[in-house]
């Protein structure tokens, strides 16, 4: 059974198509990345999963069931735009939000304490939200998303506003939840996070699917068209421009994208001929960021 299934989902706002004929399936226990440039329709898609917006056509299933109040309760949501009641106390807010998700009062109280403990915030339990720093408010919001331990977790830019310590803390919690069977949908612009955490992705642009599948497969399909050269001395004599584009130089390392017709062996040959000392020569898969940019620009053309 899939955690999420979309079939031909379309949504228009005043003649502007936000999502167009989107079909998608996310398997259970996946760590799924929903990617796309600004205004691609990511938030609209997520809102439709949450039944906040009703699609014009197409249908959506969550954990094998059509959207209903019950499916809403089985999703945890961390919206990109954060916000809590500024004048309520941390514990009150969390209790209220988890009771809205159907938890009983006693259970809500128990889990609130437990999660505040886990995110090192027990001391702040009775403070008002507006007394908290931004990072702490983010943590409270994260707790609000996971408190009812939903089988499906939707996180929109979950790391924004966190310092590295908290990023690590939250990341570990995400990985732990996943281990226990939670399906996680991550929507973000931060490609390195997707690369690190997600196992499957969908890239959408202008409301349409551009690219979807297992991250490994996608990268493989793009091929090992990147070259990484570590050198000793000077690399200028190599004339790398003949073989590659998008050349990035970092100290004694150069990364570049091979021109399509070039055989990588030609670079090695040139290095020997011109006396450039190489410490390391590596063919790489392209980073997700490049795949992202390339797919989006190709789709635009």
């Amino acid at each position: 059974m899939d955690a999420v299934t979309l079939r031909g989902v379309t949504k228009q706002f005043d003649g502007l198509t936000a999502v167009s004929g989107l079909s998608l399936s996310i398997r259970e226990n996946a760590f799924f990345g929903l990617l796309g440039p600004n205004g691609a329709g990511k938030t609209t898609t997520l809102r439709m999963l949450l039944r906040m917006i009703i699609p014009d056509s197409g249908d959506i299933e969550i954990l094998g069931q059509p959207l209903s109040h019950a499916t809403q309760d089985r999703i945890g949501y961390l919206p990109e735009e954060r916000g809590l009641y500024p004048r309520m106390r941390v514990r009150q807010v969390l209790m209220f939000l988890s009771e809205l998700k159907g938890l009983r009062e006693a259970e809500a109280d128990r889990r609130t304490r437990q999660w505040l403990e886990r995110l090192e915030m027990s001391d702040w339990m009775e403070r008002r939200i507006d007394e908290l720093s931004k990072g702490m408010q983010q943590k409270v919001q994260f707790i609000a998303a996971v408190l009812h331990e939903p089988p499906l977790l939707i996180l929109d830019e979950p790391f924004s506003g966190f310092d590295p310590v908290n990023v690590a803390l939250v990341k570990n919690i995400m990985l732990d939840l996943r281990k226990r069977g939670t399906t996680i949908i991550l929507s973000t612009h931060r490609m390195e996070q997707v690369e690190m955490m997600c196992d499957s992705i969908c890239l959408i642009n202008h409301g349409r699917k551009v690219l979807a599948g297992e991250l490994r497969e996608i990268k493989k399909a793009f091929g090992r068209n990147m070259v990484r050269i570590e050198y000793i001395g000077n690399v200028d004599g190599l004339g790398l421009e003949r073989f590659a584009t998008d050349i990035n130089r970092f100290g004694s390392v150069v990364e570049a994208k091979l021109r399509p017709e070039i055989d990588p062996q030609e670079i090695l040959k040139a290095a020997v001929e011109r006396g450039v000392a190489l410490a390391r020569f590596e063919l790489m898969e392209p980073p997700l960021a490049d795949i992202f940019v390339e797919s989006v620009t190709k789709a635009r053309a």
């Binding site: 039944r51 906040m52 917006i53 809403q72 949501y77 916000g83 009641y85 500024p86 209220f96």
Partner: protein, 422 residues
């Protein structure tokens, strides 16, 4: 929805605004109603020391006699005539001396009776403080009586029993009604204004509270989380009911403390007067019933309007602009009260009390003044109920679209378009 109501209620009851308005609004009422009355009674409670200057030399002494008669509510005379000057030898000197006394405060004023062309005499009262409108009529009364006495004397009518000759004929206005006749409209009039004032203030206060509460959820963006758990309609309904419950709590506090105060006051009054006096503030039970009915109807109507506004706008400035027309409806219904007070049964009054945006305030006034026929009441409540249902429905649609829209304030046409969204 229960959770939404409970949160709204518990959070709001604990706010400073709630405490302040619970104490503040009755205080404001007391200030508005009682303070002017208090000052009027305090001024009226003083005996004024005055001098009478009669340049005509006819009625000065008689006028001084008559001026000594009127009494203040506390039994002391209203005027103390310290000197009477007939035909002063040097009028200007006399007058400037009196003026100085008035300015210095040893005299509260002086009455100057001088010959005037066309009439036999005319008078002016010179005083530091000319604000008391009742003073003029008390003086005119005394002078007129003196002049009548004088004229009678000129026609050889003995004026020894002037009091008997001048005795007033009392007239009280009695309202003719189908069921029973009732005297004295002063008290029902006050009650109707008071009830209308309470309705006006509370509809405005709680309506705006609902709006602000929704705007807060929208601007803090917690709306997204709420909408991921709850459908828009229960969210809006919960908000309205929660704020409404706060309003009812406030009413109960007011009514409770008001009843206690009145009860206590009445007890004190009984003790002082030996059990005869009371405040006479018993309003009929049916009035309270209609008050509650119209409060609920008006509250749901206006707060759903305010809720739609709160959802449609995304900043303070847009809110105060959008709020204006709705507030105007409330203000309009309040300022139209003279129409109803003057004639509660006129066609205009009846028509106004059928308009759902006006009826909550104006109909309660009519009921307080003079209960209208039952069919009018039922028709008015019916129209109000239907409008409220339609309004809540339309507001829910606007709310549903509005809460996720940020940016520019939507135009009225856009709002109408939102109504058609599915």
């Amino acid at each position: 929805m229960w959770l939404i109501i409970r949160r709204e209620y518990t959070v709001r009851v604990r706010t400073r605004t709630f405490v302040l308005s619970t104490i503040g609004l009755p205080t404001l009422m007391v200030v508005v109603f009682a303070v002017p009355a208090y000052f009027a009674s305090r001024r009226a409670g003083q005996t004024l020391r005055i001098a009478v200057v009669d340049e005509t030399g006819g009625i000065g002494v008689l006028a001084a006699q008559r001026l000594a008669i009127p009494e203040l509510p506390n039994g002391s005379p209203q005027f103390d005539v310290v000197s009477t000057i007939e035909r002063p030898a040097h009028p200007q000197v006399t007058e400037s001396r009196l003026k100085q006394k008035v300015l210095a405060g040893s005299l509260d004023g002086y009455l100057l009776i001088s010959p005037a062309p066309g009439t036999e005499e005319a008078a002016r009262f010179y005083t530091r403080n000319s604000g008391d409108y009742a003073l003029g009529s008390a003086l005119a009364n005394a002078l007129t009586q003196a002049a009548i006495g004088q004229r009678l004397a000129e026609r050889n009518v003995p004026v020894s029993d002037l009091d008997t000759l001048l005795r007033r004929v009392g007239v009280s206005v009695v309202q003719v009604k189908q069921r029973r006749e009732r005297k004295e409209r002063g008290q029902t009039f006050q009650a109707s204004i008071l009830l209308a004032g309470i309705l006006y203030m509370s509809l405005l206060l709680y309506g705006v509270t609902t709006m602000r509460s929704i705007m807060e959820e929208k601007s803090t963006r917690i709306m997204e989380i709420l909408l991921s758990s709850v459908r828009p309609f229960p969210l809006m309904a919960g908000k309205i009911l929660g704020v409404g419950a706060v309003g009812l709590t406030q009413f109960l506090i007011w009514a409770g403390s008001g009843a206690l105060l009145l009860g206590y006051g009445e007890m004190m009054l009984r003790m002082l007067t030996g059990g005869t006096a009371s405040f006479h503030l018993q309003l009929p039970m049916t009035l309270w019933l209609w008050f509650v009915v119209y409060f609920l109807g008006g509250y749901f109507l206006y707060s759903s309007l305010f809720a739609a506004l709160g959802a449609a706008v995304s900043n303070e400035q847009a809110a105060s602009q959008a709020q204006f027309p709705v507030t105007m409806l409330l203000v309009a219904s309040f300022i139209m009260f003279p129409v109803v007070v003057r004639n509660p049964d006129s066609t205009l009054s009846v028509a106004l009390t059928m308009v759902p945006f006006f009826s909550p305030i104006l109909m309660v006034m009519r009921v307080a003044l003079e209960p209208p026929p039952l069919w009018q009441m039922l028709l008015s409540v019916g129209i109000l109920a239907v409008t409220t249902v339609v309004m809540v429905y339309a507001s829910a649609k606007i709310y549903r679209v509005g809460v996720l829209m940020y940016g520019k304030r939507p135009s009225f046409l856009e709002l109408l378009r939102w109504l058609r969204y599915t």
